[in-house]
């Protein structure tokens, strides 16, 4: 399913697990490529400064310091992204396992934040203070969560806030998506609904005057 709400930027709601994995990997590797490109140009600038110094120009310590800080900052950004992608990839290790919902949700949404950024949607994630341990397939639960996320982004307007919060407890967890204002079109949640049901979750929507709330209820496994 593909839509193009603003110009040439399609956003898919992946039905198949492999397509979901691909969507997350594509968003993340694009970000990593940006990190490497920044380091590449910054290292090139360092080379230019050395060349200039060899040819009699003085090197400004402040500029060297800025270059070094940029390389370090981007290296840290790259490492953090790789760790998150690695954590995401390991959620496919077992069909069912015990995992912490807040951490898993936050990890996923940070990885795919650029999809919201590109649509100028302000994504806010509010985890529950206490951990919520679930026994289920973290990968399939993330797939359903991503399907809701992508479906809402497709109808979001620039400047909108999309707030994702976690509540509930040991017996059942609740993930709530609040979209500040939709473009007027209702999101097509068919894929999200089907994915949620396939892993025993319940999906409900509620429309306000200018708001839209989608709630996922996750029953804890045995």
């Amino acid at each position: 399913m593909t839509d193009s709400p603003r110009g040439s930027r399609p956003l898919s709601v992946p039905e198949e697990p492999i397509a979901f994995f691909g969507a997350v990997t594509a968003a993340t590797t694009h970000d990593l490529n940006n990190v490497i490109s920044i380091i590449d140009q910054t290292a090139g600038l360092l080379e230019d400064l050395v060349f200039a110094a060899e040819n009699g120009s003085s090197i400004e310590i402040e500029q060297l310091s800025r270059v070094s800080e940029s390389i370090q900052r981007q290296t840290r950004r790259g490492i953090a992204t790789i760790k998150r992608l690695n954590r995401f990839a390991h959620t496919t290790d077992e069909p069912t396992l015990e995992f912490e919902l807040n951490e898993t949700l936050e990890n996923l949404l940070v990885l795919v934040q650029r999809l919201a950024d590109r649509r100028e949607v302000d994504l806010k994630v509010t985890p529950r203070h206490e951990p919520i341990k679930l026994t289920a397939s973290p990968f399939l639960i993330q797939h359903a969560i991503f399907a809701v996320y992508a479906s809402l982004l497709r109808v979001s307007e620039a400047g909108t806030e999309l707030s994702v919060s976690v509540s509930g407890g040991a017996a059942a967890a609740v993930v709530t998506f609040d979209l500040g204002s939709a473009s007027g079109a209702s999101p097509d949640l068919t894929v999200a609904q089907s994915l949620a049901e396939s892993v025993g979750m319940r999906l409900e929507t509620e429309s306000g005057v200018d708001t839209l709330t989608v709630t996922l209820y996750i029953e804890n496994g045995p």
Partner: protein
């Protein structure tokens, strides 16, 4: 040839800052913009020899920006520089009027080569326009 003027459009500010600095060290006059809207404003005010444009940006993306820029100034020499270099995107960009589609990370030497080509083409187009205008005047006057 005069110093080439370049507009570098990229939402990764550190990327644009480093690349702009390297280009200035190679005698180019470089402006930067963080998004498509800011780039369009600059294009309205100044004649650039080459535009280096990122594809994936918040708000107007590279292809949308490209379309609007060429509507504003059809002779613009736009080089897409992107981490999303797929064949489909490349074909789409060229169909829309981009002169090059390069993949990040790109070597500065390659970018300089493409900017020089863009400047030559831009100068040629300007000269052609002047010649056309003169021919048009001569024709209308019956000379």
């Amino acid at each position: 040839m005069a110093k080439a003027t370049v507009l570098l459009v990229d939402d990764e500010v550190e990327f644009a800052t480093a690349l702009a600095e390297r280009m200035r060290r190679r005698e180019l006059e470089v402006d930067t913009a963080e998004n498509g809207m800011a780039a369009l404003e600059l294009v309205k005010k100044k004649a650039y020899d080459a535009i280096i444009l990122d594809l994936a940006m918040p708000g107007l993306d590279g292809l949308e920006t490209l379309k609007l820029m060429l509507q504003e100034s059809p002779d613009l020499q736009v080089i897409l520089l992107t981490g999303q270099a797929t064949v489909e995107k490349g074909v789409e960009a060229v169909k829309l009027g981009a002169v090059e589609f390069l993949e990040k990370p790109a070597k500065i030497e390659l970018l300089m080569e493409k900017i020089n080509e863009a400047q030559t083409k831009r100068t040629q187009l300007s000269e052609d326009h002047v010649e056309d205008m003169i021919n048009d005047i001569l024709k209308r006057k019956g000379w």
